[in-house]
C-alpha cells in the first residue's frame, strides 16, 4: 500500500474564509457566536453558526458555472482552491489528474427547500434553474468544471464519519493510480429545515455551515504537511452495536500513542451527547481538543475541519501525531490518525 501525504488544507467556517481564521478561533478557545435564523411559523428564531461574508468577493464567483450556484458550492470551491494552492493551475492546464470527493450529509438544503416550496405552490411554474442545484453532486460538478478536471469525481452521502471514508477512498484511488492528487472535501450549508431538524434531536448544538478540504498525494513526502497514518474501520450504529460499543471498537484500532499527542475529538461539551466518545477515550492521557464546541455542528464539514486542524497543528510542529475521533450523528464511529512526515525535524 502506498504512503499518503497531506499537501494542502482549506477551510470555510463560521470563523470566516480560510484556515488561518479558523486556527485563530481555535486558539482563542471560545465558542463562536450564534446568529438568529427565522423559522416560518415560529415567533422565536432558530440559532445557527453561519459563515460570515468573505472579506472580499472571491474571483471564482464570476465563473459562469458559479454565478448562480448554491451556497454549499461556494464553500466547497473556496476550501478546495485554498487546499490546492498552485496545484490548481496544474489541474486546469491538464498536467495533473485530480480526483474529487465531496462528502455531504444534508447537502444543498436551501435550494432543495425553496424548489419544493415552489412545487407545492404550483409545480407548473417551479424554477428549472433551481432544480439542478438541489442534486447532491452539484458542488462536486461545479468544482470539476471550474478546474476543468475530467478525472473521477464522487459525491458521498452519510453522517459525519463519512468524510473519513472519503479519505480512505482517495487513498485507494491514489494507490490504484487512477489520479495523481485527490481532494477530499466535506461541506454543509445552513437552512431553517436543517436547523429545525437538529433542534429536535440536539437542542443545544447549533447547526453550523462551511467546508473543509485536504489535498492528498501518494509517496510524496517532500513539502508534505502531514502523513496519513490510519483510517479505522467504520463501526455502524446497529441493533447489535450501540453507539458506546461502536466508539469503543473505533478507539481500539488506534495505537497507544505517547502522551504528547493530541486527540481532536467530535465532542460538543454536552455530556448527554458526548458519553460514547468520552467513554471510549477515557484512558487518553494526552491533550484534547474539540473543534465542534467552538465552530459548530456541521456534519461532514465539521469532520473535515477536525482533519484540517489536526494537520495544521502538525504543520506548526505543535504535535507530532494527532488522533481524529468522530462519533457521527446517526450512522457510525470512525477515526483517523495523522503524523508528522518523517523528513521534518522538530523546530
Amino acid at each position: 500500500m502506498s504512503r499518503v501525504f497531506v499537501h494542502g488544507l482549506g477551510a470555510v467556517s463560521p470563523a470566516g474564509w480560510g484556515v488561518a481564521v479558523m486556527r485563530d478561533a481555535m486558539e482563542k478557545n471560545v465558542p463562536l457566536p450564534v446568529q438568529p435564523l427565522a423559522r416560518p411559523g415560529w415567533e422565536n428564531p432558530l440559532f445557527v453558526r453561519s459563515v460570515p461574508p468573505p472579506p472580499e468577493r472571491p474571483a471564482f464567483f464570476a465563473h459562469p458555472r458559479l454565478r448562480r450556484a448554491n451556497v454549499i458550492t461556494q464553500f466547497t470551491v473556496a476550501a478546495a482552491l485554498e487546499a490546492l494552492g498552485e496545484t490548481a493551475s496544474l489541474v486546469q492546464g491538464g498536467r495533473v489528474r485530480l480526483g474529487i470527493i465531496v462528502c455531504v450529509m444534508a447537502g444543498s438544503m436551501n435550494y432543495s427547500r425553496r424548489f419544493y416550496e415552489e412545487v407545492l405552490n404550483d409545480p407548473a411554474t417551479a424554477s428549472p434553474l433551481m432544480f439542478p442545484e438541489t442534486v447532491f453532486n452539484a458542488p462536486a460538478s461545479h468544482l470539476a468544471a471550474f478546474l476543468a478536471s475530467n478525472a473521477i469525481c464522487y459525491t458521498l452521502v452519510g453522517d459525519d464519519g463519512t468524510y473519513l471514508q472519503g479519505i480512505a477512498l482517495a487513498a485507494g484511488w491514489l494507490a490504484d493510480g487512477k489520479v495523481d492528487v485527490c481532494l477530499v472535501i466535506g461541506a454543509e450549508e445552513t437552512d431553517w429545515t436543517v436547523a429545525d431538524a437538529m433542534k429536535r434531536f440536539r437542542p443545544d448544538a447549533p447547526h453550523g455551515a462551511g467546508a473543509g478540504a485536504i489535498l492528498l498525494k501518494k509517496d510524496s513526502a517532500s513539502d508534505a504537511i502531514a502523513e496519513l497514518a490510519l483510517i479505522t474501520d467504520s463501526f455502524p450504529f446497529t441493533h447489535s452495536q450501540t453507539r458506546v460499543a461502536a466508539a469503543r471498537n473505533m478507539r481500539a484500532q488506534f495505537p497507544p500513542g505517547p502522551k504528547e499527542e493530541l486527540l481532536c475529538s467530535s465532542v460538543r461539551q454536552m455530556p448527554h451527547l458526548d458519553e460514547a466518545e468520552n467513554l471510549a477515550w477515557s484512558d487518553w492521557n494526552g491533550v484534547r481538543m474539540s473543534s465542534r464546541a467552538i465552530l459548530g455542528q456541521a456534519f461532514q464539514a465539521a469532520t473535515a475541519w477536525q482533519c484540517v486542524i489536526a494537520c495544521d497543528v502538525i504543520r506548526q510542529d505543535k504535535f507530532a501525531g494527532v488522533n481524529v475521533s468522530v462519533i457521527g450523528a446517526n450512522q457510525q464511529a470512525m477515526g483517523a490518525r495523522f503524523v508528522k512526515p518523517a523528513f521534518r525535524s522538530n523546530t
Binding site: 500500500m1 411559523g41 409545480p123 407548473a124 439542478p132 438541489t134 453532486n137 470539476a144 487513498a171 490510519l230
Partner: protein, 415 residues
C-alpha cells in the same frame, strides 16, 4: 482498518470479481423471473402517476411500481417494517432476493456500497409540508427526519439481515448505481475485501418528478430512446442489489456464479450541469476506460445497454460517443435502452441495468425496445427493437448523470 488497506488476497495481481446473488424490483414486478420475462419481451410498465398530484405537470405518467402486500422475512421488527418508506421497501425486497441467493451469513463485516439520488425523499417532502403547515406539531417528524436520510436505508439493510460493515453511499446523480457497483468491484479487485453487497435504488417522488418536468425533460408519452421523434424521458422507480465476491472466495464457498464483472470506467463531463458535451467525450472516456480495465476492445462487446434516456441531448451525445467508440465496428454493435420499458430509475438505473445485462448473458437473448418507431439516423449501430435470441459473451452498461458523472461497466457470461 480502511487505511492502510489490507490485501486479503495476498496477491499483487487484481482479483477476478464474480456475482453470486442478484435481486431486482421494478415496475415490471419483484424478482428476477418476472423482470427477465418482461425485459426479454420488451414489456412496458408505464401508467398514470398515483403517488402524488401531477395534474399541473406536463407529463402525467411514470413506471410506478406496485408494492407487494407481503414483506420478506427479516430481522426487522414489525414496527421497524412499518416505518420503512417506499424506497427502503424496494431496496429490501431486492436485497432479500440477492442475500438468499448468495447464501451469505449474518454477523459478518460486510461492506455495503449503494447508489441513490434521493433516498427516501418522499419522507423529506412530508417533513417539510408538516413543518410549514403545522410548525408546532411534533408527531412523526423525528421519524421522518431519521428515515429520510440515505444512511438509514443502509442501516436498515444491516438490521434486516444482521450484518455490519462500512457503508459507502455514492450520489453521483443518475450514474450513482453504476458508480456504486464500480466502486464495489474496485474494492474486491484490489483485495480490500472478499465480498461486498452493492446496488442502487430510487423511488418516485414529487420533487424529482416536478424537477425534471420543470426542465421540460419529461415526455408526455412513454419514452422512445434513440427514436428520431423522441421528446423526453419517463421516470420510473426500483432497486437492484448484487452480491459480489472475489472468484477465490466464491470458489471456496462452492457457490453458483451468475456472471463476472470485468471492467469499470468513470469520467467527468465538465460541459454543463445538466447538458452533456455534444461530442460525448466523457462517455467515450468512461467506455474506453472500462474496456482497458477488462482488457477487451469494443468489437468484443456483444450487447450494450445504453443510458438512453430519450432526451434529445442525452441520446445525441451517447450516439456520438458510441459511434466514435465502436468506430468501424459500429454497424455490428447491438444496443438497446431498457428505460423504454421501466423508465429512468435515476440512482437505481445503473444497478437495474447491470442486472438486465446479466439476464441477457445468462439467457442468451437481447432486451428489445418495442416502442422504437423510426431510429435516429445518427445511430450507426443497431437498435434491438424486437425480442431476439443471441450469443452474448460480454455486455456493457452505460450510465450518465447530472453534473457530468459518466460510468461504464462490463460484464462477462459465466460458463
Amino acid at each position: 482498518m480502511l487505511f492502510p488497506a489490507p490485501n486479503l488476497s495476498g496477491s499483487a495481481n487484481p482479483n477476478r470479481v464474480v456475482i453470486t446473488g442478484v435481486g431486482i424490483f421494478t415496475a415490471l414486478g419483484s424478482g428476477w423471473q418476472i423482470n427477465a420475462a418482461g425485459f426479454r419481451t420488451g414489456r412496458t410498465a408505464f401508467r398514470p402517476v398515483t403517488l402524488f398530484d401531477v395534474s399541473r405537470q406536463r407529463s402525467k405518467i411514470a413506471a410506478e411500481a406496485d408494492m407487494p402486500a407481503g414483506f420478506p422475512a427479516t430481522k426487522l421488527s414489525p414496527n421497524g417494517v412499518r416505518r420503512l418508506g417506499r424506497a427502503s421497501r424496494m431496496l429490501l425486497h431486492a436485497a432479500h432476493e440477492a442475500w438468499s441467493q448468495a447464501g451469505w451469513n449474518a454477523d459478518e463485516n460486510l461492506p455495503v456500497v449503494l447508489g441513490t439520488t434521493s433516498g427516501e425523499m418522499s419522507l423529506g417532502e412530508e417533513y417539510l409540508q408538516h413543518a410549514v403547515r403545522f410548525p408546532r406539531a411534533k408527531k412523526q417528524q423525528p421519524t421522518r427526519i431519521v428515515h429520510y436520510q440515505i444512511q438509514q436505508q443502509a442501516l436498515d439493510l444491516f438490521n434486516a439481515f444482521g450484518f455490519d460493515g462500512p457503508i459507502t453511499l455514492v450520489s453521483n446523480a443518475c450514474a450513482s448505481g453504476a458508480n456504486a457497483i464500480g466502486h464495489a468491484f474496485e474494492i474486491l479487485r484490489s483485495g480490500r475485501a472478499e465480498k461486498v453487497m452493492t446496488g442502487g435504488y430510487d423511488a418516485l417522488c414529487q420533487l424529482t418528478f416536478a424537477g425534471f418536468d420543470s426542465l421540460q425533460a419529461l415526455s408526455p408519452a412513454p419514452c422512445r430512446p434513440f427514436d428520431a421523434a423522441r421528446d423526453g424521458l419517463t421516470l420510473g422507480e426500483g432497486a437492484a442489489v448484487l452480491t459480489l465476491e472475489t472468484l477465490a472466495h466464491a470458489t471456496k464457498r462452492n457457490v453458483a456464479i451468475l456472471g463476472e464483472i470485468t471492467g469499470y470506467g468513470a469520467a467527468t463531463d465538465t460541459h454543463h450541469l445538466t447538458q452533456p458535451h455534444p461530442e460525448g467525450n466523457a462517455a467515450l472516456a468512461a467506455m474506453t476506460a472500462a474496456c482497458a480495465c477488462a482488457g477487451v476492445s469494443p468489437e468484443q462487446i456483444d450487447y450494450l445497454n445504453a443510458h438512453g434516456t430519450a432526451t434529445l441531448q442525452n441520446d445525441a451525445t451517447e450516439t456520438a460517443a458510441l459511434n466514435r467508440w465502436a468506430g468501424r465496428h459500429a454497424g455490428n454493435l447491438r444496443v438497446s435502452s431498457t428505460k423504454s420499458g421501466i423508465g429512468h430509475l435515476l440512482g437505481g438505473a445503473g444497478a437495474v441495468e447491470a442486472v438486465v445485462c446479466l439476464m441477457a448473458l445468462r439467457g442468451q437473448w437481447l432486451p428489445p425496445q418495442i416502442s422504437l418507431e423510426k431510429i435516429d439516423p445518427a445511430c450507426r449501430f443497431q437498435i434491438v427493437n424486437k425480442p431476439v435470441d443471441a450469443k452474448v459473451e460480454m455486455a456493457l452498461s452505460n450510465s450518465f448523470g447530472f453534473g457530468g458523472a459518466n460510468a461504464s461497466l462490463i460484464f462477462r457470461r459465466w460458463s
